[in-house]
């Protein structure tokens, strides 16, 4: 082997090596392409059955009808998404009332007040909230929260109700708000805080008057993500909210403004878009029937809404981020 030192082959790129390199590169690229294919497959799967559905049920009826009864046995089927949207909105808004303020305050505490020791304990504990399986949350809502609320605050509450499901959805989404908001708040440079203190501001004023406005794009994007998560949440509502598509009775206030009594919606059972899908899937799954296709139409609605919200959250986080 000594004579090979005269003209060393530094490259050592034989045909075999090049082939091997190409093969591995190609394999990795193929695996990466699977993620892209997943998106395409989701869209194609949802679209193909949704199109079949809309050829049977006019899209205007789907969007405006207020009654949902996908009776698989045939007879008297109506597919109106309005009642489901109201159910989803109920859950989402109530959950937002829990998750957004609590999550924001948590983020402020973690980023501004907590010692590094407290932070290192609190953050993993908060992550646990997001790691508990949702069916377990649903069980908690049904078996512990509802009886507790019934015994104390709302005796007229029904076994399946929107309130306890929404509370659990809210608790589950707290870490989403808090972790993304806290990242945004931690990214605010210390100079700004020092400048605030220099002007004689208190810690409270610095936190609420400087840090929060400076990180508002991150906070807003965390809100949108959390709401999008709440919209897509399935098992908590399936277990705890029951499955009754209901239109709330719309009363009229003095000035003729339509008004819905929140207790009417919250204390009774209801149905969200996700519950409607699970209900159909839990029955007989035979392809080609209208209820089967309706499931995909609902899925498409859900997919589009959550996708739009995620893109929106990205845009807000990117475009309105304050650069320091």
């Amino acid at each position: 082997m000594t004579d090979s030192t005269e003209s060393p082959d530094l490259q050592r790129r034989s045909g075999l090596t090049r082939l091997k390199e190409g093969t591995y590169g190609g394999l990795f690229a193929a695996c990466a392409a699977i993620t892209l294919l997943t998106t395409v497959a989701i869209i194609v799967t949802l679209l193909s059955d949704a199109v079949a559905f809309f050829s049977q049920v006019p899209i205007t009826e789907f969007l405006t009808s207020t009654s949902w009864s996908p009776n698989p046995r045939g007879g008297g089927q109506t597919f109106g998404i309005v009642a489901l949207v109201i159910g989803t909105l109920t859950v989402t808004i109530t959950a937002a009332f829990v998750a957004l303020p609590v999550g924001t305050l948590t983020a402020i505490y973690l980023s501004e007040y907590a010692t590094s020791n407290a932070r290192s304990i609190l953050k993993p504990l908060l992550e646990i909230l997001a790691g508990i399986p949702t069916v377990v949350y649903g069980y908690f809502a049904l078996v512990y929260i509802t009886p507790a609320l019934k015994a104390t605050l709302f005796p007229e509450m029904s076994t399946f109700n929107a309130l306890s499901a929404s509370l659990m959805v809210g608790i589950m989404t707290i870490p989403m708000v808090s972790s993304i908001s806290e990242d945004a708040m931690s990214a605010v440079p210390d100079d700004l805080r020092q400048a605030g203190y220099g002007l004689g501001a208190t810690k409270f004023e610095v936190s609420t008057g400087i840090v929060v406005p400076a990180s508002i794009s991150g906070i807003a994007s965390s809100y949108i993500l959390a709401v999008s998560r709440a919209i897509g949440e399935t098992m908590i509502v399936v277990v705890a909210m029951g499955a009754q598509a209901r239109m709330p009775t719309v009363g009229e206030t003095v000035l003729g403004i339509p008004f819905i009594n929140p207790a009417d919606v919250l204390l009774d059972s209801g149905m969200t878009i996700t519950v409607a899908m699970v209900q159909i899937a839990g029955g007989d799954l035979t392809g080609g029937t209208i209820p089967y296709d309706a499931m995909f139409a609902l899925g498409l609605t859900l997919f589009v809404v959550t996708l739009v919200m995620n893109v929106l959250s990205d845009i807000i986080a990117e475009r309105y981020r304050e650069e320091y």
């Binding site: 007040y113 949702t134 808090s178 990205d314």
Partner: protein, 592 residues
């Protein structure tokens, strides 16, 4: 004349409201712990229900507290060797007892009865449980504690993995595995080993083709050959012996041949004896699964013991399993002798080994556990391979600019969006694509695990990317400078460095997969199956599906008993997985 203004005369200047700030600070602290507190209360209640602690006599609790908990805590304190910690622990446990009892009595007299909770249980959950957690944490930093917990961890983890293996063989054909192992893997390993020892690069390179060829031949031979050894011998030949050999090699690498023989041989011999003769000798355990579990748990334990004795520090820690088992036995003996009433927990042997039933006391989770184990094993393989390959492509094989750069950004955005798609939509994908279009069937293991793999793929990829990104660039440049190709750099430098991080991310993602329910319902997984599945294409259930099914039962025994037991089982498995992941991460961080 702004300068003339006397600052002291401006209303409120220099007066800062402290109250507002303090209120806000405590408000935000309260918000931070609100969710955690709510979850803790719910978990306490579900634990009480699952173990039937509400009706437990305080004497029973006291007995086990004295025989089991106190010695264990004492060991932790001994390991910590810190007067300050000991003082604190004694203060907290003593003061906590008084405080909890006082607060509890006050609530009961002035507010009202708290359902299914007494002050003894409250003390247990509010004081003893966090204290134990803290002391384990502190104790593990001392040498005996680290040794003891390491040993317990290996025993429990090894048993769990052994059981998981035996569950996998319910579905996967052990005879096919036997053929594939004998014809494919053993020759390939021999060739590879020869190549390594004699430094023949051709032999090393030939190993993979030989293995593939052998497995193919095995698949072809399987329908033809129909004489096989019994399951015990298949497990012995294909699993127990290689594991023991690997353990022995590991110990041998540290220099001692006799120790190597002992470390490999003793667990193997124990496994063989109990596996072959356990039942006959009336031990109550035996058969192929016992052989599997003992060898999978025993060999790593033996290797660990060797290392501990080799280092010679903290050997006292090896008494921890004895302490725990002994404490439990003494407790049981005392309870038996004095006729103390024992609780009747819902999480019991019956619950873990029986099929679901209409009768609450007979109901079990066994088929669902089997389903979950098989699904998770398959998801682990799919998502690990795909996740690592994709993240390697995105981090190592792409450029920042040009067409490839644009493609990479597209992939990156796409992955971020996929991570936020609701899981129920993935269920529809599985239903439309895998179950209907590709014909894998409704609710079969294949359909379910492919669906779940796609669901957790974005999370796996994102965490694997982070792990790969955290490998210092100097290492890559060093490897490049040695003339390594991109693949060689990736294989020899990047992946070994990033491996612990990738593994941690994958296990955490698997934790998400094991609790997912909605996609399973969508692809038509069974809510209840009465026997363990026997093939990959039979109808499957999983733990969350069974919990979902039971939660619909209106009877009290199901609501507050069986489902609670199911939830606790699921959560314990989840905690085990996530705990392993965190330990791996911590160890990797300490190593670098």
């Amino acid at each position: 004349m702004a300068t003339d203004t006397d600052t002291a005369r401006i209303e409120g200047f220099g007066e800062v409201s402290r109250v507002r700030g303090i209120v806000f600070e405590y408000l935000s602290l309260g918000a931070s712990v609100l969710g955690i507190f709510a979850l803790a209360v719910l978990l306490i209640y579900v634990t009480i229900d699952a173990f039937d602690l509400a009706g437990t006599s305080p004497v029973w609790l006291l007995t086990y507290f004295v025989t089991l908990v106190v010695p264990f805590l004492a060991f932790c304190l001994y390991s910590a060797r810190d007067r300050e910690v000991t003082r604190r622990a004694v203060t907290v446990s003593g003061g906590g007892l008084v405080a909890v009892a006082a607060v509890f009595t006050a609530i009961e007299t002035f507010v009202g009865q708290i359902p299914r909770l007494n002050w003894q249980l409250a003390y247990l959950f509010v004081v003893v449980a966090p204290l134990t957690g803290y002391l384990v944490y502190v104790g593990a930093r001392g040498r005996p504690g680290a040794v003891g917990f390491g040993l317990v961890g290996r025993l429990i983890g090894g048993t769990a993995i052994g059981l998981a293996f035996s569950v996998l063989f319910l579905v996967f054909d052990e005879r096919l595995w036997f053929l594939a192992y004998t014809i494919g893997i053993v020759p390939a390993a021999l060739v590879y080993g020869y190549g390594r020892v004699r430094d023949v690069s051709v032999a090393s390179a030939a190993a993979i083709p030989i293995a593939v060829l052998g497995v193919l031949v095995a698949v072809l031979l399987r329908p033809v050959v129909d004489v096989y050894p019994t399951t015990v011998f298949i497990y012995l030949w294909t699993l127990a012996i290689p594991i023991a050999a690997a353990g022995a090699l590991l110990v041998n690498g540290r220099g001692n041949r006799t120790a190597a023989l002992v470390a490999g041989g003793v667990p193997l011999a124990l496994a063989v004896v109990i596996g072959l003769f356990g039942r006959a000798a009336g031990l109550g355990v035996g058969g192929p699964n016992a052989l599997l579990v003992i060898s999978v748990a025993g060999v790593p334990t033996a290797v660990y013991l060797h290392r501990v004795f080799d280092v010679g520090e903290g050997v006292t820690g090896l008494g921890v399993p004895v302490l725990l088992v002994g404490g439990a036995l003494v407790g049981a003996f005392v309870v038996e002798t004095f006729g103390i009433p024992t609780p009747n927990p819902w999480v019991s042997e019956t619950f873990l080994t029986e099929a679901p039933s209409r009768n609450a006391r007979d109901a079990g989770l066994y088929p669902a556990i089997v389903g979950s184990v098989i699904i998770i094993a398959m998801v682990a393989v799919f998502s690990f391979v795909l996740g690592v390959a994709t993240s390697v492509f995105l981090e190592e094989y792409t450029a920042d600019s040009g067409v490839i750069g644009a493609l990479t950004r597209l992939l990156q955005i796409n992955i971020a969006n996929l991570a936020a798609v609701p899981s129920v939509v993935y269920g529809l994908l599985g239903l439309g694509l895998f179950a209907n279009l590709l014909g894998f069937g409704f609710g079969t293991a294949v359909t379910v695990s492919l669906t779940l793999s796609l669901l957790i793929l974005p999370i796996t990829i994102i965490s694997a990317q982070e792990a790969i990104r955290s490998v210092p660039d100097d290492l890559r440049r060093g490897s490049d400078a040695m003339g390594a190709t991109r693949w060689q750099t990736t294989k020899n430098v990047v992946l070994p460095e990033a491996f612990p991080g990738i593994l941690t991310g994958t296990i955490l993602a698997l934790g998400r997969a094991i609790g997912e329910t909605a996609p399973l319902i969508m692809v038509g997984a069974a809510t209840t199956v009465f026997s363990a599945p026997s093939s990959l294409f039979s109808k499957f259930s999983a733990m969350p599906m069974q919990i979902y099914a039971w939660a619909n039962f209106p009877q009290e025994e199901f609501r507050y008993g069986v489902v609670a037991a199911g939830v606790i089982t699921l959560l314990i498995i989840l905690i085990g997985m996530n705990g392993t992941a965190i330990l791996l991460r911590n160890r990797a961080e300490r190593g670098t």
